[in-house]
């Protein structure tokens, strides 16, 4: 209840203040009053004395307002929980579907496929590092050219990761994926350069590299 009360104060009070300014001025209620009523309302012990000192109609209005906002708040909490749960189900369903589709009859199933928390964290760290590194590119190039290509590479990497489950294989895959993304980053930056900059840069390179870079 204490946590609930804290959320009410943090989230709902500004809403009440912004949406019911007129009511507040009519009833001559101040911010502190609302704070007080919220504190009272949040505490079950004090429900009996809730709104004491206000007229019956004002008390009813205030309570209706508070209940309305509290209901909205609870709905949003439930919705967030529902989204989280459905993501969890989708996540595990995708793993189970994959296992079912790739299961060969007459072959034992080796499936530690639902990963440990540590594995997931390291995977997220890798993606986070790579996603931060391509912030080097200007927004337009990043959005138009790099991000869709990166998503394709990520999908390939995750599909490969499903097949190879040993630690060494996964490290190798992560290394390859990192290198691939690094090369893509270089290609995007290269494609972004104007022809003049490219030819100036190529003029300083040996013939071998010039051929590779298409000069």
């Amino acid at each position: 209840m204490a946590g609930h009360d804290k959320w009410l104060r943090c989230l709902l009070l500004p809403k009440i203040m912004s949406e019911n300014t007129e009511d507040i001025s009519n009833k001559k209620l101040k911010l502190e009053d609302f704070q007080y009523w919220l504190d009272q309302w949040g505490n079950v012990e004090n429900l009996k004395s809730f709104g004491a000192g206000l007229s019956a109609k004002d008390r009813q209005d205030l309570r209706a307002n508070l209940e309305k906002y509290a209901a909205g708040f609870l709905d949003s909490v439930l919705e967030a929980r529902h989204t989280k749960a459905s993501h969890y189900v989708m996540e595990h369903a995708s793993i189970v579907h994959y296992e079912a589709a790739h299961h060969e009859p007459n072959k034992a199933v080796r499936t530690p496929s639902i990963e440990s928390r540590e594995q997931r964290i390291s995977l997220r760290k890798l993606f986070r590092f790579l996603e931060l590194s391509f912030r080097l590119l200007p927004p337009k190039t990043r959005k138009e050219a790099f991000e869709p290509a990166y998503d394709d590479a990520k999908a390939d990497y995750l599909n490969a990761r499903r097949r190879y489950k040993t630690k060494l294989a996964r490290r190798w895959l992560a290394f390859c994926f990192g290198m691939h993304v690094g090369l893509m980053l270089g290609k995007s930056a290269w494609g972004m350069c104007s022809e003049k900059i490219r030819s100036w840069f190529l003029s300083y390179l040996p013939e071998f590299f010039r051929r590779i870079l298409g000069g």
Binding site: M90, E91, H92, S94, I95, Y98, E115, R120, L123, F127, T141, E144, A145, F146, E147, P148, A149, Y150, D151, D152, A153, K154, A155, L158, N159, R161, R162, M184, K187, S188, G191
Partner: protein, 112 residues
């Protein structure tokens, strides 16, 4: 070249033409499109391909949007493409242009 002929030049480059031809009227993901192009011998790196698709989108020849797929518990965005009416018109115009030129060349004595 006469000015009216210049106006009839196709709006699409050969690469853009190939992309629209591979795309057809179906909805395809960027990955499938790239694969289709590589089957025709047109290999492009990921960023270069998507940059070209962005130009086609800017010219309103194709429509692009993201769809979400879940792979191994990770949500991945996938770029999807579909040809627009303007794209179909440009494709047909380019086809007609090259058909016309081929017929003209076939009529020349050297090719007869």
């Amino acid at each position: 070249m006469k000015s009216d002929e210049r106006h009839n030049l196709p709006e699409l480059s050969h690469l853009q033409f190939a992309v629209l031809e591979v795309l057809g009227t179906a909805q395809k993901s960027g990955k499938d499109l790239r694969q289709g192009l590589s089957e025709h011998g047109l290999k492009k790196s990921g960023p270069a391909f998507y940059q070209m698709m962005a130009r086609l989108e800017e010219a309103k020849f194709v429509e692009g949007w993201y769809s979400q797929v879940i792979i191994d518990g990770q949500i991945i965005k996938e770029r999807q493409y579909k040809i627009t009416g303007a794209g179909i018109r440009a494709l047909n115009q380019t086809k007609q242009f090259y058909h016309g030129r081929t017929r003209q060349m076939a009529a020349l004595p050297a090719f007869a």
